[in-house]
Subunit: 201 residues, 2 copies
Amino acid sequence: SQDLDAFFRQKKQMDFILEIDKSKNVFRQTYISDGSRKENDAEHSWHLAIMAFLLAEYANEPIDVLKVMKMVLIHDLVEIDAGDTYAYDSCGNETKKEREVAGARRLFSILPKDQEKLIWDLWEEFESGQTAEAKFARTLDHCQPVLLNDASGGRSWREHNVRREQIYGRNTRTHEGSEKVWRYVKGIIDKNIENGNIIQE
Amino acid sequence: SQDLDAFFRQKKQMDFILEIDKSKNVFRQTYISDGSRKENDAEHSWHLAIMAFLLAEYANEPIDVLKVMKMVLIHDLVEIDAGDTYAYDSCGNETKKEREVAGARRLFSILPKDQEKLIWDLWEEFESGQTAEAKFARTLDHCQPVLLNDASGGRSWREHNVRREQIYGRNTRTHEGSEKVWRYVKGIIDKNIENGNIIQE
Ligand SMILES: [Ca+2]
């Protein structure tokens, strides 16, 4: 019956909403700004979503802010199964895609079909990094940890002996979403190369 | 000069983005779904923003989803200064408004004037609960803790000896944003009255 279909649709949505609560236990390598503990994926994604609308004026191309916000809110959900892979962990990064696709398959399929597709499309668009929205979302995703690492005295960089070439290597495309946000954040990176938090080689 | 104005504008925005990181240290009375620890404001707001777009179809009136998402993302920022006031703490709730307005004044004024106004307007709209967007946002804000409390075995309700009349008293208007979300969540509340997690009087 229609009532039963409607009930199952809502049940699937609510089950998904409960399942993604696990993002609050996926911890990243970045410390929150006071350096007291590591940040988790839910907090990181919340931060990016606020940045998306406050910094939208700096996007290189016109963007659909709503789409960017949805994208950043869901971009790390796959890590519920796959775990966070540190940006400078080259072994982890070899198997990352495979683990994340498996995570996406299990997780997104909890939703009704139309919303499963919606979330897949947003995630794939983010991962491909080709559209104006994906480029801007990726710029935010790369810049936010720099703000936090700087605020926490470079702790995460120092713990991982991050080198100048690694951080610039990872950020070759960060300017594509926003020259202006990247320029600001590059200033912070350079300050941390000067003060030794990032290893100059 | 224009360059300097542009620099200061961006600096203010970035300072605000860093300041709101403190939301990750504002802990609520709700436990995350596995019951392992309490949830913080950043995580809670992230959860609501995803609920906003996945459950938008259940809003009683047509809503601007982007506005709802912005609203829920920023609605608890004032607690950085004011702290979380537990829904059933009647003393705390007497001074809550005053503390929160002071928090808003300090915090929002870090932003450039136009964005300070934008955030004030969103927060006041949320607090007043009169528009379709604010009603829907408030429904989500009241329903998400029920999902988590239920998932964590009613721990937060039991710790605070929450009574049926309190939870229904707090939720007299929750249906105004979405009859369908409220109906689903009311089913969960009633189950927890039956099983004794919420005190039936
Ligand atoms: Ca990631």
